[in-house]
Amino acid sequence: MSRKLLETESPEWVRKGIITPEQQEQLLALYPHEERVVGLLPLLGSLLLGLSALSVVAANWQGLPEWLRLLLLLGSMGGAYAGGEYFLRRRNESLGMGLIGLGLILFGCGIILTSQMYQLIGYDATGLLAWVLAGTALTYLYRSRSIFILTACIGGIVQGYSTGQLGGFSYFTAALTVWGLGYYWWRRPDGLLGTVLATGLLWQAGLLVGHLHAKITWFFIPAMLIYAAGDWQADRPAARGLQTPPIAAAFLFTLGLALYGEADTYAGMLRPPFLAYIGALLLVLGLSLAGKYRRGRLGSATDWLLLLPGFYLHGGLALAIATLVVLYAYSGSVLWRAHQENNADRVTLGTVLFILTTMVAYFKLTWAFMDKSLFFLLGGALLLGLSWYLRRRNVQALSAKQPK
């Protein structure tokens, strides 16, 4: 609770007799005034000074002698790290970690500018791999969430550069992200970091699939491996954080299949060799189910509905309808589980997924033969009715479970 809220609300509480004026004073004393504004001015001032110094250096960069340029690069990086340590020791966490993050960014800039200075050509991502390595080391040393996020982003950038510019996938960068950041997350489970890590890994997995010119459905093997890792994680919110990106990707893919799967050319682009793909998928499914069983979460096995490989069907419209049935089953299972867990956020999520599926189904099944104005009228009425009904049900279900 913030002091501001307390200051505005507490007179009303006193008036209603909820708390006494003495208690109000005691409560206010618990939240002293923060001296934030004072710290802001010097920060802005130093930011401006830093920017002016940066523009002077940038304007004269080519004209400076090499040794001075090197010294500037090393000095600014060392200065940022030293400054960060200084502020961290004075318990100024945000400024301290900000400077450490700046130091890490300056390290990457240093590598790039130095190799540019000597006209060196990068043939592989080795030089930039050092950047990811430094980020990983600092993540462990500072145990900082912001450095973790920064390192995950750096890993994604390095991998993007490696596959895009250098024509090779950097397996070291991928391994470093999986084992370095993955192990950190495993030991210090965290929902947000799980989502960031999974997103970074999915990005790299996508780049790998593109680099190998493989069918895009292979993407779901590494994606579901990430998901399965979440099943073995004991910390439930952290596991959910890690599992959200792969499941979101699978949901969007299935939604796309419902929309475009009717054309066999699209479904044909998705079909990897049957035995290899199904074998790999079943292996990951086994891993995931074992984890779910171990942690007592077998109920969430319905997530795997989205991975049903419907694209092997040559059904045309039948494939689209089968996919819609899967989507309904999935969003229904999310809603049902949310009610079981009495979790309002998950209920909202399930509702959104349900409505999205209904929109796609409606679009798919009626667009071709219905007059356009009737199409929108009926569609709007259907969605409004559906959301009203779902909301009413949610309110009823949640209030029935509230302790009296």
């Binding site: 960069w61 130095t114 006209q119 050509i121 430094a134 040393l141 024509g167």
Partner: protein, 178 residues
């Protein structure tokens, strides 16, 4: 993980991590000097470019005679793919090096030949376009205009150092006869 062994205190590890980063940047600079010192110098010829196209802020764009090669020079089991890394075998002829073959894997080179690494940017029936990442030369202050003037009259000669470990860097860009 929460307790570090006695010698490797958190402070020492932190110092080590930052010192390693500084050393790495110095090593990159060292690689630049080592490439010149230990590498052999080859001379490449640029093809004339539109002078308005040459100078870009603080670097010039160079287009080499070996930037586009005939498809007969390709040696690989499959057709060259876009963005594929390749090895280009260079043969000296009249003082400059010209492409003698483009390989998917590193070929053996005769003593007078040199190998430069590059990437396929485009491949069609009549040619293969290659990129060496030597196409940008960051010019020292105030020399860009002089280069630009000379490049309109005749092709530039570019001296490139190629280290034994394959690293290449431009050491000099100049006119013919300089």
């Amino acid at each position: 993980m929460d307790t570090f062994p006695t010698f490797f205190t958190r402070r020492r590890l932190l110092g080590l991590a930052i010192a390693a980063q500084m050393l790495f940047i110095l090593a990159v600079a060292g690689a630049g000097y080592a490439t010149t010192a230990l590498g052999r110098t080859i001379v490449l010829r640029t093809t004339p470019v539109d002078p308005r196209d040459l100078l870009y802020g603080d670097y010039v764009r160079l287009n080499y005679s070996i930037s586009q090669v005939k498809p007969e020079l390709w040696h690989g089991s499959e057709a060259p793919k876009k963005a594929q890394p390749v090895y280009v075998l260079l043969q000296p002829a009249n003082g400059v090096y010209e492409a003698a073959g483009v390989y998917a894997t590193e070929p053996a080179a005769a003593p007078e030949q040199a190998i430069l690494r590059g990437w396929v940017t485009d491949s069609w029936r009549r040619g293969i376009r290659l990129r060496y990442n030597l196409e940008r030369y960051y010019v020292p202050e105030n020399t860009g205009l002089r280069l630009e003037k000379s490049a309109t009259r005749r092709p530039l000669l570019v001296r490139v150092s190629v280290a034994p470990w394959g690293q290449a860097r431009i050491t000099q860009v100049g006119e013919v006869g300089r």
